[in-house]
Symmetry: D3
Subunit: 251 residues, 6 copies
Amino acid sequence: MRILVVNPNTTAAMTASIGACAARVTTAEVVAVNPAMGPASIESHYDEALAVPGLLTEIERGERDGAQGTVIACFGDPGLDAAREIAVGPVVGIAEAAMHVATLLGRTFGIVTTLSRTIGTAQDLVERYGFGARCVAIRACDIAVLDLDVPGSPARAVVTERCRQVVEEDGADSVVLGCAGMADFCDEIAEAIGVPVIDGVAAGVKLVEALVALGLTTSRRDEYAPPPVKAYSGALEGFTRRKPLAPVTVR
Amino acid sequence: MRILVVNPNTTAAMTASIGACAARVTTAEVVAVNPAMGPASIESHYDEALAVPGLLTEIERGERDGAQGTVIACFGDPGLDAAREIAVGPVVGIAEAAMHVATLLGRTFGIVTTLSRTIGTAQDLVERYGFGARCVAIRACDIAVLDLDVPGSPARAVVTERCRQVVEEDGADSVVLGCAGMADFCDEIAEAIGVPVIDGVAAGVKLVEALVALGLTTSRRDEYAPPPVKAYSGALEGFTRRKPLAPVTVR
Amino acid sequence: MRILVVNPNTTAAMTASIGACAARVTTAEVVAVNPAMGPASIESHYDEALAVPGLLTEIERGERDGAQGTVIACFGDPGLDAAREIAVGPVVGIAEAAMHVATLLGRTFGIVTTLSRTIGTAQDLVERYGFGARCVAIRACDIAVLDLDVPGSPARAVVTERCRQVVEEDGADSVVLGCAGMADFCDEIAEAIGVPVIDGVAAGVKLVEALVALGLTTSRRDEYAPPPVKAYSGALEGFTRRKPLAPVTVR
Amino acid sequence: MRILVVNPNTTAAMTASIGACAARVTTAEVVAVNPAMGPASIESHYDEALAVPGLLTEIERGERDGAQGTVIACFGDPGLDAAREIAVGPVVGIAEAAMHVATLLGRTFGIVTTLSRTIGTAQDLVERYGFGARCVAIRACDIAVLDLDVPGSPARAVVTERCRQVVEEDGADSVVLGCAGMADFCDEIAEAIGVPVIDGVAAGVKLVEALVALGLTTSRRDEYAPPPVKAYSGALEGFTRRKPLAPVTVR
Amino acid sequence: MRILVVNPNTTAAMTASIGACAARVTTAEVVAVNPAMGPASIESHYDEALAVPGLLTEIERGERDGAQGTVIACFGDPGLDAAREIAVGPVVGIAEAAMHVATLLGRTFGIVTTLSRTIGTAQDLVERYGFGARCVAIRACDIAVLDLDVPGSPARAVVTERCRQVVEEDGADSVVLGCAGMADFCDEIAEAIGVPVIDGVAAGVKLVEALVALGLTTSRRDEYAPPPVKAYSGALEGFTRRKPLAPVTVR
Amino acid sequence: MRILVVNPNTTAAMTASIGACAARVTTAEVVAVNPAMGPASIESHYDEALAVPGLLTEIERGERDGAQGTVIACFGDPGLDAAREIAVGPVVGIAEAAMHVATLLGRTFGIVTTLSRTIGTAQDLVERYGFGARCVAIRACDIAVLDLDVPGSPARAVVTERCRQVVEEDGADSVVLGCAGMADFCDEIAEAIGVPVIDGVAAGVKLVEALVALGLTTSRRDEYAPPPVKAYSGALEGFTRRKPLAPVTVR
């Protein structure tokens, strides 16, 4: 089985780290990539919107190269709906994956994210996935995404402290790490705070692996059928899609 | 007062029609534009995602040219959050505007949209804006966006019939037209079905006009502050933002 | 355009102040009135219930005198449903108006009200209008309505401090002033706290102006059709309504 | 024990019938009254608003005459909040009582009301009391309140048929009668349709009786404390309240 | 009238105390019992699950011996759905009863429970009964059920202090006691904190008494019809039910 | 890896069929068992309550024999909370698993269950897991659990037809099979109706396998910590738990 893991920002070092975390939890082949175009990190609605074209390009290429399922490795789950329309295999976002897993481990969970300005997006996803009654807190670290793994920085200590607050002050049964760049910290934090800590990259890989094994992919009924074919102009002309030669196999 | 109305698809004829509808309800100067890049119409999550870069470009240009407020004239309200981060003036989406107005006119409303595959997006917006208890139905016409104004087509009759069903079968007090391409039909349908019919383009222009008159714009606190400055690569390098020279004036 | 602004309590000084705030934001003619019967201020469910008969009388009189739309200028939005049944033009409450406007300016808002006993009513309105997920706090000042503008009082400072708490402690993107008697403070507080502050009187006038310009009024379908004609007795005999001579024009 | 049952409209025949239904289910003394002022029946928001002053007058008089608890016998539960502020004993509305009882008898219930224009009010009450997930249907009979007991009319048959639809088509486990004027039909309909049918007058009397027996009344903390004393003017001057001579006994 | 009150744990001293509290509020005959099998107290999901077989046995026996209605006297309302399927008369849980009563006395209530690990179950019940918007806090005392009435223990003082916090810090209008073992403290705490305090045992007895007086019992439509007859094996063979000899009388 | 799959009813043929379905989707060792005590099938709240003691016994035994994770293979997810308290490894119910998987494949899903009296339980689980906005229909087949696999019966055709209705009439993107006894039908129905069909047994096995691979199990914080040790009496004396000899390893 080949699983595509797309880091939607353009920072290759982060892609490598995400790929390593993904590979650690599966026997499937993991292909970790990032787009050539777009923002170096995703920390605003603006960044997120502009990460999507490159992400979609990578998913199309990845499936052409044999990927059977895809993980979107940014905690905002950018472009998830569009990705499901164009991908043949299943697509899962890491926020989605981590939250689903968290709800199987207790009544409540909390999220620890990077900048406070991203809390709103995390809240939107919590509601979208149905977990408004389960998520008891979203706390920010006020650390930029690309500062998470600067050697010698206090990032790991700060993230650990926020996780502890989510458990002890907010009453969470488990903690979801709110950035793909935190994947590395997962085991160490769990050890420190004594409750399950969930990294969405690992969770996403396992969920995609499960869907592929079950022979399941996105429903092609109506909303997530392949997008209508039409003209694209200007700098985005390359996104014009051709009519499928053969009928799409449903299911 | 100058109000920017952005049609986020690339079809100029539709932009002209939207601009005319906008101008009819205000004494402000209306500037109606569309991007040079992106899809010819927006009928999927894929189209919507790829319409956003061009939309953001137009909003930046429009404000540089003196616009004091912006209407996003596509019923999916694409890019609304990103637009609020980068625009100095207020930004309103036409789905948002139409739904807000509808709730001032009765207990319930219904939406008539184009293709059934867009119903999910409309439902997401209803929830986002808080009107899940007010929206009693979303019905599709199964007419593509660019077929709405083909001369001699049955589009107008079909849309009118769906509006009537929303009132008589679903019990809506008013009807929201779910596509900027339907703006032209508004008065005629209201006449035919005997309840208020709301076109989001007109509603959006009046709400933006009101916000500008009240001296109000997007809160710059945290989530909607200008996005962090960072590197953009490849085909999207042009979206790199510079540090603001002067401090942003709050409110 | 003539817009009626009804202060539903009997305190003329407050009516004058409300009228001045209303006139400042519109080129329409503003007619500000208050009933001759009822409570001097509205600070309980009892006051609110007993303010409604006089309010309805003023709306009927105001429309007879040419008003095309009506603002109910008390933050409990008293009598709004009944007013919509009997008024020909659109009717908007100031709590409703302020909350709608606040949601166009950010993700969240907070409300600052007078006495803590009115928090429940504000909470009911938040839910009614669909903004339960947007309103992050309702804080009271413990200042009686008629004490808000006593010269030399600390009212303005206390209200400003509550607004600041709603932003800094509760995380609101904007603040809604929860009493028509605070309209005067709006600009000064916004200046002080650096986020949008919304006065419902100004917001209500602009929304009614927009509805009238759009040719929209309350849907006459079923619930908000004119009330059935019937006998009224005793002290309220004057509220008996006559059968409409001509059929009601829908929309 | 003396229980006050207030019919908030001015129709004495309906008061008599309500009083008889109330007396049938309790050994307490039932005092059934109606106001001298206000509408002959309540079928609109306008009627409801104008029924409240008379209702409040009757509750004050009733408690002065020894009533220990009060039932508001109109399915819109008009004036309930204001009544709780001024009454010393507990106050329950018949919609509230009937819905609470219905939820003890199964998973779901439905409501059968008079005119379709009152469905919105019933829906508001369902939400207010927390039963949105339990109430599966509200159906109207299109019979005016005062036509319910016209001898020889088809009212009883129509109400029975609506109740049957609520069970067989909407899947309700029980049926709540949505008008005090239907109290008489209760047993006969239950017999006919084979599921519990709940009359709010009877349910309200039993709940008030239970609260009095338990020594419980409205909490005097903040929102439902006695209303602030203030000036009332004009035709409503009689509603001016005096300062309580002795401190209010809490609980 | 004979009312069965089942304490679902096996501690006879607690049953006696519950029976005394129940008898104090009614003129009906109260029969208080507990099962011979199961846990000595209920403080976990495990305890609750294993209390149900004994509870069901007692309800069957109690009705055979003439009980017309049943109260389940444990704040988790264990086995309530199963009890409603097999009992002929109405069945009410004490959490259910206390919460319903609390909502008739103000806008909000809080709950004070024993161990913090039971807060989740209380939260589930709050949601099930529809009172998520009314319950503002659930606080635990960290006192085990059987330690509540140890002479000389600080239990009563601790429970009183938690009740006070629920009112003063969380803003509750009333307090619900979250354990049948606290029934004895009810009046004293109410006296101390000045708002209504509700004991579910007393509330449950009054609600069951009301339902019996109204001639109402569980709807037999579908979900709560008597369970299908089938084979039971092993240690639970005694729970095999026989086909009803006579048809069940509906209502 | 060894995964325990517990069929909570006592019918061995059904256990064998469930085990075969489970083994088909995993390379882990599957141990499928059923209790010796309890009901032959689960079709009522009564059956469900009485299936739990035997289920808990099997989970304890299964973990003692080396199981690292557990699937509860009945669509009501009976005893899930109690199982999480006592099991060392993760526990997942098949309703829970199937619904989680369904939400990864589209916007909406529907459920097809056996008897209509079980719809309420399915609805409760939908709400508990957070998927109230995603589940568009629950339809019953009116086929008893043990009649599902009677050779020559129309069960498979009826279930397929209900699934088709859930897609075509209710608009579901995928269908969840609402009984472990339907696991066998899964592929055939998916073929027939052209959208994903999810069997909870297969989904549950993959989710438990994923949790074990990720090193995750139930949070031991508070609610799901091992239950307090206490006396059990009578026929259930065997459920008395001993104090853990070694401290529980958290996570």
